[in-house]
């Protein structure tokens, strides 16, 4: 009986000792961080239009920004125009090339037919 009490008391002491040891280490887990909860899903919709034009009277656009946007737009349209005109130019050149090819082909065809006719007349004469 005495032995059991001794073991029990010493066991309690051991538990106290281990608790004192683990206390500062266990306290290290009391730090955490928030998971970012602003993940968009298919259900998230924005009913208000986010795009605002410069002409919008409610949009308070500074003059510098407005000028910059206009300049960018101008450059964009100019580039677009240049691209389309280049494409058009290429198209005309290609058409001309096709025409030339066709005339050359026609000429060769005509020559061939003339040669064939000449051969036929020569054969007739020989006969």
């Amino acid at each position: 009986m005495k032995k059991i009490a001794k073991v029990g008391l010493n066991g309690i002491l051991l538990v106290i000792f281990l608790a004192v040891l683990i206390l500062p280490i266990g306290f290290m887990g009391t730090m955490n961080y928030e998971e970012s909860g602003n993940v968009l899903s298919a259900q998230d919709t924005n009913e208000e239009p986010t795009m605002k034009t410069i002409n919008d009277p409610e949009a308070d656009v500074p003059d510098e920004v407005e000028e910059f946007i206009l300049k960018m737009e101008r450059e964009y349209y100019q580039k677009q125009f240049e691209n389309t005109s280049e494409e058009m130019g290429n198209g005309v050149e290609e058409g001309e090339k096709d025409k030339q090819q066709n005339t050359e082909e026609n000429e060769t065809d005509d020559k061939n037919t003339e040669d064939a006719e000449e051969l036929k007349t020569e054969e007739k004469i020989a006969k």
Binding site: F17, P24, N32, E34
Partner: protein, 189 residues
């Protein structure tokens, strides 16, 4: 009835526990203030806004704890190597008595119980840091630092314990086994 060793260990473990706990809390607050990181204190503890903030504060906070651990272990190591009652120099003893710091002279029982407690904290911190480093919750260099400190301190304690055992062995051999002149109980009168 109660184990004297366990009582001694509990007694020696209280101050390091309080020091490490305080260093953890103080370092979290100080590092957050210094780096301009905001946090909330809730029932779950300190809550940071992002994992990057958490990683930074946690790493520097553990570094602060390691510094406190090194200070504690250094104190015990100095006591074990210089002020150990078994091999303290007479000049050091007289100097300590002259400045009334004789309490620094301690025996193996006192020093090794204190050393065991600080070493236990060192290993526990090493395990926690390893787990955190694997989970990317702490910088890897913090773990390597902790590993280096643990290995170094363990080696110093092992060498000191070996020296102590050797000295005990030598002193036993020095004693004469001849009991011819030993006083027997009740013989003096």
């Amino acid at each position: 009835m109660l184990s004297k060793l366990l009582i001694k260990l509990i007694d020696k473990a209280i101050i390091p526990a309080v020091l490490l706990l305080a260093s953890r809390i103080i370092s979290i607050v100080l590092v957050s203030r210094y780096l301009g990181i905001s946090f909330k204190i809730t029932q779950k503890g300190f809550i940071f806004q992002s994992s990057y903030d958490y990683l930074k504060v946690n790493s520097y906070s553990i570094l602060f704890m390691i510094i406190v651990l090194i200070a504690g272990l250094g104190y015990v190591i100095i006591k074990a190597l210089i002020f150990h009652s078994s091999h303290i120099k007479p000049s050091t003893t007289s100097r300590l008595f002259s400045i009334r710091a004789q309490s620094l002279i301690q025996d193996s029982y006192e020093i090794y119980t204190q050393g065991a407690v600080w070493l236990s904290y060192s290993y526990l911190l090493l395990i926690v840091t390893a787990v955190m480093a694997m989970s990317d919750l702490v910088y890897t260099w913090v773990f390597y630092l902790m590993l280096g400190v643990s290995i170094l301190v363990t080696l110093i304690f092992i060498f000191d314990a070996e020296e102590e055992i050797k000295m005990k062995k030598d002193s036993r051999e020095w004693l004469d086994n001849d009991k011819k002149y030993l006083e027997k109980p009740g013989e003096l009168e």
